[in-house]
Symmetry: C2
Subunit: 416 residues, 2 copies
């Protein structure tokens, strides 16, 4: 017997037949003797409709009203799943954020969970009742409904798992786990059986859109073992029986990962843009003069490369922003006053490829291996940033697939 | 300055453009210096969709889950109206049943309001804030959302008006008031400026479907002056200005009705059916033997006529039920055991015409006038029931229009 939190997203509860499928997954866990809490999102499309209405009501709407409106989507799904579970002979009831309560801060529209009282759920678990919890929502200090931001049901699930001390938080989604890289680009990509929280965090923020970044952070902080699996598999398939687990990826602490690879995955993000300022005066205060206005415009700068100038007077400065911010960023740098800039050049035909792995901490030369392998393929590196467990490289987007495949093979990630 | 409760039904908030129209009605009252609470229904169609989903989830669903699901419709409308009001520069916020709180009993799906705490709304009124209240819902003793049954937003509005001691409860609907009879049948029908609670109760239950019966009962008990008006009129029409009231009907206590008519209106219900048992033994216990099984089958019997038998041995017994119950009722009486019944006859081609007026209490001969007028037109009366303020007559449905027009003229209800 274990205590489990199971989370199902919008496509997994898109209609009544999908909700019935979810109920069969829940029944399997209940029949196995587990104590179960289920966290559900709104039916696919429901949230978009509600958001569209609030925008139509007023583009500048009160975030507290937005929350009350949008949270109704999860309220509906939770009630429907509770009804279906009951019809299958399972004791179940729905819980809204304010009923448990799931207390959050007052940042309506992007609230953070402050505290979940597990008292009432513990009582219900003891009675054998399944808790069906509306995800994405809580109650703020003002006694009003708050929402956690888009994708917040992942965070609800992980926070609930931490509060009730669940053995595992199962995230049912439309993919069957986390891969070494995008299988659509590299046919040799493998599903990882296990991945460390830190690695998942780097991969999630780099585009492996399996879980919301904030929910992974929370899982890491509270040590919640999180299992990513497909909601489209057969709920009664043999591998699910008797404590078995289907294909999927366990996100866990490093200590649970027995055979550590040096590199766990290769991520890449295509929505990058680079901007180069030519012939900039090479003197103190130049960086501040450029990046101050960008920060004020709420433009997030990722990589920065400044070459040492040849003559000690002028240099070139390159940095990257997201493609979405590109036009605004170009505008901002062109309007920087009182600075000598030879020319401003930019392009969006760049891609950032990242090599991620906690093994890098204890292995020297990982970055150098990457640079050498790319050079052998004739791929020019435009910029580099590194962190403790990640090396990111900016290249011409034409070489994306080649670079990712090359690095995937280099670090032994290809299928056996 | 006055304190007002304004209620808008589903067709009045069917989409954003209708909600904007509602907001203009609210703005007019706020600009006139009134303290305003608005009660809203779900957007037209929303409740039906939610109910359909709960049925699809399971025909025998948990009423508590049903309530949590269905109450979400009003939650959405309340938030949207609050946003639109704010965009028009009006201080406003939405309130859900559990936030005020509106406490009800535990009869999920058909709850009754037990108590509304007005403390927090009084504070907000003092700050000049409009309260937008989700109708149809409250919170039960189990801390779960309850709903008041279909059409319950009228009840929410009247109960709220009683709790905050509002000067008036304005029911905005798709008709512009209560008429002396159905204008589609009698072109001479007049809109009533005022009608007593008791009269409205008789007219509402007889088919003048302007307000939910229970809400009229509540208005009567608490003496809430209730004004029925159209939500389709121009919010800024001249007659609305400076304390004026547009066309509509005030439902109020008798003492407010200066020029009392003997008869206020003629109602009629077409969904009636009559059943006659011929040659029934005329002995004690016969009525119980017939109507006991009908009551057990949850069939509501309205009129009952038993003629005095000629020979003291056998009699005929006639009664009416709703047309919807007709088939079941026929089945029940045919299966009554141990009784001599000559024959069971029935038909659904009957209509009940009712003459309503509190003036009847002090005027004799009202019923006799009706019988005489109908006889003069050759209309045969099949059954009669009377109450203190109502005479109901069962006739052949072919004579419906003739009978209603005749009685409408007889009591001086035709347009001047």
């Amino acid at each position: 017997m274990a205590r489990l939190v199971m989370k199902f997203g919008g496509t997994s509860v898109a209609d009544l037949s999908r909700i019935r499928n979810v109920a069969r997954h829940v029944k399997r866990e209940v029949d196995a003797g587990n104590e179960v809490a289920v966290v559900v999102s709104a039916m696919a499309g429901a949230t978009n409709q509600l958001v569209a209405w609030t925008r139509e009501a007023s583009p500048m709407h009160d975030a507290r009203e937005y929350d009350a409106i949008v949270a109704s989507g999860e309220q509906v799904t939770a009630g429907l799943l509770a009804i279906v579970l009951q019809s299958m002979g399972i004791s179940a009831r729905s819980w809204l954020g304010w009923q448990i309560p799931i207390r959050t801060d007052g940042a309506h529209g992007a609230a953070r969970i402050a505290q979940i009282d597990s008292t009432i759920l513990d009582e219900r678990f003891a009675q054998g009742q399944v808790a069906v919890v509306a995800g994405f929502q809580g109650i703020g200090p003002d006694n009003r409904i708050t929402t956690l931001g888009r994708g917040g049901s992942d965070t609800s699930a992980v926070a609930l798992a931490a509060a009730v001390k669940a053995e595992r938080c199962d995230i049912y989604t439309d993919v069957d786990g986390v891969y070494t890289t995008d299988p659509r680009v590299v046919s040799q990509a493998r599903r990882l059986d296990r991945i460390a929280f830190e690695e998942m965090l780097e991969l999630a923020s780099l585009g492996a859109k399996v879980m919301q970044v904030r929910s992974v952070e929370m899982a890491m902080v509270h040590g919640v073992r999180t299992f990513v699996r497909s909601s489209f598999d057969d709920p009664d398939a043999p591998q699910n029986g008797a404590g078995g687990l289907p294909p999927g990826t366990l996100i866990c602490g490093e200590e649970e990962i027995v055979e550590q690879q040096v590199v766990t995955g290769i991520a890449f993000t295509k929505d990058e843009a680079k901007i180069t300022l030519r012939h900039v005066a090479d003197k103190p205060g130049v960086a501040a003069a450029i990046f101050g206005p960008l920060a004020e415009a709420n433009i997030n700068v990722d990589m920065i490369i400044q070459n040492i100038s040849e003559d000690g007077k002028f240099t070139d400065m390159t940095f990257t922003v997201t493609a979405a911010d590109y036009d605004r960023a170009m505008q901002v740098v062109k309007e920087i006053e009182g600075m000598e800039i030879g020319a401003v050049q930019g392009s969006t035909d760049v891609v950032k490829v990242s090599v991620v792995g906690i093994g890098m901490r204890s292995h020297a030369g990982v970055a150098a291996d990457a640079f050498r392998a790319l050079a052998q393929k004739g791929i020019n590196i435009q910029a580099i940033t590194t962190s403790e467990i990640k090396v990111s490289i900016l290249i011409d987007s034409a070489y994306t697939e080649l670079a990712v495949r090359t690095l995937h093979s280099l670090y032994g990630l290809d299928k056996a």
